[in-house]
Symmetry: C2
Subunit: 212 residues, 2 copies
DNA sequence: CCAAAAGTGTTGGCGTTACACCCATGG
DNA sequence: CCATGGGTGTAACGCCAACACTTTTGG
């Protein structure tokens, strides 16, 4: 049983995913997603996902969620594998080890079923952006509201109105104001925020969403 | 590798799920979900789900979707299984073979992790009710608008306004009007509808949802 | 004093909700 | 003619989207 990962980060106003160049046949030299095998019958799937993420990329996920389980034996030339896929979000702009971040919209053709997995991961992320605070996981704490808005704009692929975004996002009550300011560059310093400790990602309470 | 099923139907204004009484240890006599093992490495997960559904309940799903893959070896006393779970919807009010429909809100305690699976299935169904036409799969075609409204009311667990429901649901353009009428009982006959052939279940087009 | 990003309120339009009566039929 | 569920339109309200200027800082 395999675990395959869609590992996402946001840098330079674009969504990036970790790709990996295959070093053996079949599809030698093709791009693929990082992944590997569950160690043995005693390892949980989630543990395998965390372990493989560390082993393959050297990164730690700030959000990790099961995506889908592919179990169509004929679809992989390497053998009749079941592939459990995970979506991972990484905070900040780290450097992965032994692999590269690619712009999610300009990803090359991927080996095996990995193109489908990537699409499913990115779609899920974009959908969640509309009704959850998962996008906050792309940021290192503390962060500014402008940084939050930037993450949402990248994921939703459109610009948002600053005043509306701030009013609406603060109303979610998902953030905690700090007294610190970030001063950088020749302009007014920005107030810093942290995620509120005991708030879930889901916003089903009031059907709150982001249809700006 | 196991496949376990949450099989749902709606009868007598309540959501029902198929439960199965275990006939062997451990948990002999306890209620559980229908399921079984994937036949061999050549059988796809979806095929296994369809096959086990037929074998265990004698029913055919009008909607079948993968739910989640449970892979925590310590959680099942029978062994270190991976359990791929599916959500199934059955149209009409059929009689399952060798098992029983229970009211989803009054389900007894279930064996193993099946309580979690049931909750996950019912939650998913209720969530999908708000932004998809999956609930139509509970109906045999052709159906009346009142029957559609009844299904949505059962799933959303509240009453909906008849005029608003009709206007909004017809605007989805997910139904096809037929010229037939259903005449039953001492009242005006109801117009019959079918699902529109080429409409997807998802209504992401216009962010349409059901916050009545 | 200039540039650059942070921060802040109000209004009009549209979509949602609330609401009551007539219609067609069988018995 | 009576009971039963089918079928239909409008008006008030609230929420969403659009919009521009002041503040604070570094250089």
């Amino acid at each position: 049983m395999r675990v395959d990962l869609v590992v996402c980060a946001i840098t330079a106003r674009a969504l990036r995913v970790v790709l990996w160049r295959r070093e053996e046949a079949p599809e030698l030299g093709a791009w693929s997603l990082p992944g590997g095998f569950v160690a043995d019958e005693r390892e949980s799937l989630r543990h395998a996902a965390e372990r493989l993420m560390a082993e393959r990329t050297g990164l730690t996920a700030s959000f990790l969620e099961q995506l889908f389980t592919f179990g169509d034996p004929g679809s992989d030339p390497r053998g009749p594998f079941v592939s459990v896929t995970y979506l991972a979000v990484v905070a900040g702009a780290p450097k992965p080890r032994d692999c590269e971040f690619h712009d999610a919209r300009k990803a090359p053709r991927l080996a095996f079923h990995h193109g489908d997995v990537l699409k499913m991961g990115v779609d899920r992320l974009r959908t969640k952006t509309e009704y959850s605070t998962v996008p906050l996981r792309f940021l290192e704490e503390p962060f500014t509201l402008s940084e939050v808005q930037n993450v949402y704009e990248v994921l939703l692929q459109r610009e948002l109105d600053k005043r509306n975004f701030r009013r609406k996002f603060l109303a979610l009550d998902a953030l905690e104001e700090t007294n610190e300011l970030r001063r950088e560059g020749a302009h007014r310093p920005a107030r810093l925020y942290k995620t509120s400790p005991k708030k879930p990602d889901l916003l089903k309470e009031k059907g709150i969403l982001f249809p700006f």
